[in-house]
Symmetry: C2
């Protein structure tokens, strides 16, 4: 028998009927003899409803009070699920973040978990009770209610699994796992049975948003096996695990194709190519809190100047452009060019480490479809290219096919 | 400068606009330099909404989990009011019952307050902060959330006022005080400036429901001056205080007329008049948890039998009738007669103690209007009669006039 921590998101507990369905699911596992800890989000829409109430009073609601307010959402669902479990004859007990207790720092609305007191949960589990915990929330050392930020319930689930040394942390959501790429773009996109934490981080941060990055980092750090499953369909989902070396040999080089069209590109042309130039260009951007993603500096032209290009989130384009134009004048550069019709496509896979031909295969595939690569950036387990937005779907399909991602992955 | 504990009910915080209005009110007092503790109910309708959710899952929701669920209602309003106070430039801090902490027994959904930890509230008050507390809720010794039962926010207000030794506990509601009788029945009904705790208890339990009986008892026990005021209208409301002997001399004998039509009358006829007969009749009723109100036993008839009459809540009439019919058979009595077309009218006043003619004046007034008295019951500060329901309004008006309640009461 195992100890499972299961987390159900807002859609999974969005109505009484769905809460009843979650109770059936949890009761099924408990009936098989597993020890069960269940972490819940608020009903879908509820957190937004509460924030809207607060916004009617304060444009920027007081963070401490906002946490008092929005933490009620999960308190409602844990009570209702516990009732549903009791109705089915299963003993169960609900806990708020403050009751359990999930100790955090005092950074209201984005608190970090510091410690979890497992004594009462252990007592309950030993007594055969299902433990139902409010996700997304904790308390600071003064007993003030804190919340962990959007998607924080995933983090609560992983943290409880780590603290209790659970066999698996299962994240139930409205998709049935992690896919090789977005099935809306590639029909033959395939659910991955396994993926490593590192790959998942790259996939998630690149746009295949299934669960909170922080939760994945946390799971990786504490080696908590994490599984993504669908609340609404049967299936094994995708297991996110450590990168086992011997598995690795069997794995294909690329696990998935991630992409996004959230970025815009800025180029400052004809800047003098001398030491410290990157800092002089990027410091004003960073100082304004604008995140820079891909950065490329071309080799010097014959006149000793170079072009310097980087991407930012599209929402930040105008702010970044103004800052860059000031820099351009200051450096006596040839001017600034921007382009917000770009897309980023990335291939991700721990197997790349040992397969050096991956990059050239990627470029060949894009070239075969006449897709021009504007920028390239690489990491150990990921290669990203910036292309014209119009070619995004074409590029994703070409790469999905080139790396044979539609074929079932070899058993790990 | 004073320390006030103010309690605002669900109607007073029923919308963002009303919460803003309460913030204005509280800010006004704080601006005058008073130390302020504010106790809030949930938005009107919210507790019922939450109970309805629970009822969809369990016909009788698990009490522990029901408390987890419904305690969220006040948690929402305290956060919102605190934001509204901060927006006005007043420092403030919200607390749940568990945070403050209001320690109760573990009788979920009807818990009793045992102790209140005032350290943090004192710190806040000394620091110039308004303390905003969730009414209706507490925690037991295990940190489990409890609630105090319907209207429990009044009790929270009084308990905090007692613990903090406040100058006054002010209950803001949708009526502007306690009246000599229901103004819907008697046009000239008059707001009382003062009333004693004992009178208030009799008035409240007899149907003039302004605030929770438990809160009044609590205030009387701890000698907390209690004031009923309107949230929506200016005015001094009604102050509920101890019975000061010297005031008493100036007071008229009767303070108010209470009434209800919730009761039904049962009579068992021709029972043998011997010791222990009352117990044999009433024990089966009490054992079923049915509360009996007025009880009258007539003197024996020539045949050594008597008629025994009592009243119960109308909702309990059928249950009580069945039990009584079994008793009737068992005792070989002449049968059971019931009447649910009755009303109870009471005159209430501490002044009755020293004014012996009050009872006869009451009976004279009713008689003058040809109202037949079916049953009479008396206590030190109250005389109640059971009459035909049709004469209820007539009786109330006759008594209100007979005791000159429309005239302003002499200054206390």
């Amino acid at each position: 028998m195992s100890l499972f921590v299961q987390k159900y998101g807002g859609t999974s507990v969005g109505s009484i009927e769905r809460i009843e369905a979650v109770a059936d699911k949890v009761a099924g596992f408990r009936g098989q003899g597993h020890d069960m800890v269940v972490v819940l989000s608020a009903m879908s829409g509820e957190t937004n409803r509460l924030i809207a109430l607060a916004s009617q009073i304060q444009e920027r609601p007081d963070p401490r009070e906002l946490d008092v307010l929005i933490s009620t959402g999960e308190q409602v669902t844990i009570a209702l699920l516990t009732m549903a479990l009791k109705k089915r004859g299963y003993d169960a007990c609900s806990y708020t973040g403050g009751q359990i207790k999930i100790l955090t720092d005092n950074a209201h609305t984005k608190a970090r978990i510091q410690r979890i007191d497992i004594a009462r949960m252990r007592d309950d589990l030993n007594g055969g009770r299902v433990v139902v915990v409010a996700g997304f929330q904790g308390v600071d050392e003064h007993g003030d209610i804190t919340t962990l930020g959007r998607g924080g319930s995933d983090t609560t689930g992983v943290a409880l699994a780590a603290a209790l040394n659970a066999n698996e942390c299962q994240i139930y959501t409205d998709v049935d796992g992690v896919y090789t790429t977005d099935p809306r773009v590639v029909d033959s996109a395939r659910r991955l049975e396994r993926i490593t934490f590192e790959e998942m981080l790259e996939m998630a941060s690149l746009g295949s948003k299934v669960l909170q990055i922080r939760a994945v980092e946390f799971a990786g750090k504490y080696k908590v096996p994490l599984r993504i499953l669908s609340t609404f369909e049967e299936g094994d989902g995708t297991l996110i695990t450590l990168d086992e070396e011997d598995d690795n040999m069997e794995q294909p080089s690329v696990s998935g194709i991630a992409f996004n069209r959230d970025e815009a590109k800025l180029t400052i042309r004809g800047v003098p190519d001398k030491p410290g130039i990157a800092t002089r260009i990027l410091a004003p951007i960073g100082n304004k809190g604008i995140d820079v993603d891909v950065i490329v500096q071309n080799v010097s032209a014959a006149d000793g100047t170079t072009d310097f290009t980087f991407t930012v989130h599209r929402n930040e384009l105008e702010g970044a452009r103004k800052l860059l134009e000031a820099v351009s004048t200051e450096l006596d550069a040839r001017g600034v060019v921007v382009d917000d019709r770009i897309a980023k496509v990335s291939i991700v896979g721990v197997g790349m480490r040992s397969h050096t031909r991956v990059a050239s295969r990627m470029f060949e595939a894009l070239s075969a479809d006449n897709i021009n690569i504007q920028m390239i950036t690489t990491s150990e387990i990921k290669i990203s290219v910036i292309i014209d937005e119009r070619y995004l779907e074409l590029a994703v399909r070409a790469l999905h096919s080139a790396f044979e991602l539609s074929e079932p992955r070899a058993a790990g």
